[in-house]
Symmetry: C2
Subunit: 256 residues, 2 copies
């Protein structure tokens, strides 16, 4: 079986004066969260979509799903944890409570505020995880990456050819993820901000899947402006979500 | 003395079907290159601005400067080199041919397609280079950085707290830069894509200066759309360029 865990735990403190978390803000004609959930809900390989959010926002999230995706009997709202990886483990616990898992079952974890994930990215995540056991979605680093360990001087400028920027989805065989997570020390569990690193710290292979420049994470109001530009370009409709790619035009434009 | 070298060597092949390099495209009411040159031309600490471009575009660049910055007697157009660092060394050669340099003289190198550099960033570049001898403008990495040496599997996910994305300006004491560059092997010279790394490879200190999220490099048409959004927000005028910051509003927005 294949599950999608949509991580909507944010309470939106980076969004300034806004009175609700960013995943509930409107993008195009519906909330960002709904745009994201639809990508997984509409994918025929995915058995159940689990939306993880802060306990204060569970009822609001359920209401939105009822309004925008009525009769979605395979979308469930579950309480998230304090940290990103706690939230993912809450999804694992929910799944284990409902199904008998085998070692081939897969969880696709994805940021609720990355609504531009494509069908191609999701399908490649599933394929790579079936083959390797874990995968991460990345794009080649667009900037030179600079390392500074003291926030004052440069420690190193690594070869840019090897550097990537992480996006999501991050996809894992569920039982392997649980085993690797349980192998971590309490300190590792409390400081780890990335799920793929759970595998890396265990010496397990993680494949990389090519993301998209436009698969952005909406964190700041500025990002929402960019996102609305992407939406305007994409002329989104259901068939896009079904067949794969957005019609975002990154390579041609009018020079007025 | 303090010089600005504006790196405009691009011939624009990443811009698709456009018939001219991206630095000549219009942003707001004038070419991107002019927006960038103005930031340095208007800075009272800078003695001369050297614009480095491909030989095919020298006349066009001169014409633009005459049109938009008439009587700019301290803006000079010089032919660039094949690689980024060759271009910078061409600027150094030009400066050496015209002035007697002392070890305190400074070159500020900057991408012609980063028009949103601020007065604050330029002044901090000058100050840090006076103190340390070299500096680089960076922002904390917004994404998790992933290292893959084989383009297939993850090699490492370094601690994000130490990771930064490089921007420009990159600023150096000129004679030290020349000395460090001449110490490199031919292979290092031919593969190096970053000027700050000339210092790093020589074991010399490079300070970091805080950039800005909106100090973007306009590489793809998508970036130009974002840039126009920034321009719309910023309500640019000369006093902004004189006093420092753009009025780009990253933290508040209307949720309609």
């Amino acid at each position: 079986m294949i599950f999608a865990a949509i991580l909507a735990g944010g309470v939106g403190n980076r969004m300034g004066e806004v009175d609700k978390p960013k995943q509930f803000l409107t993008l195009g004609d519906k909330p960002i969260l709904i745009q994201t959930v639809e990508k997984f809900y509409l994918n025929h390989r995915i058995d159940e979509v689990i939306v993880l959010c802060h306990k204060y926002w569970i009822n609001h999230t359920k209401d939105l799903i009822d309004e925008y995706i009525p009769n979605a009997d395979n979308v469930t709202v579950v309480e998230g944890g304090e940290l990103r990886n706690d939230t993912i483990m809450n999804a694992v616990s929910y799944i284990e409570g409902k199904y008998d898992l085998s070692e081939d079952d897969i969880i696709i974890t994805h940021d609720s505020v990355r609504p531009f994930v494509t069908h191609r990215i999701i399908m490649e995540n599933i394929k790579k995880t079936e083959e390797v056991g874990a995968c991460d979605t990345v794009i080649p680093a667009t900037d030179t990456i600079v390392v500074s360990e003291d926030k004052d001087k440069i420690s190193n400028i690594p070869n840019r050819d090897f550097m990537y920027q992480g996006q999501t989805p991050q996809t894992f065989k569920i039982l392997k993820l649980k085993e690797c997570f349980n192998n971590l020390s309490d300190e590792e569990k409390s400081t780890l901000s990335d799920a793929a690193k759970i595998f890396v710290l265990n010496g397990e292979e993680v494949a990389i899947v090519r993301g998209e420049v436009f698969n952005i994470k909406i964190t700041y109001p500025y990002d929402l402006k960019v996102a609305n530009t992407i939406i305007d370009d994409a002329k989104l409709n259901i068939s896009d979500a079904e067949t794969g790619e957005y019609k975002v035009n990154l390579y041609d434009f009018d020079d007025k």
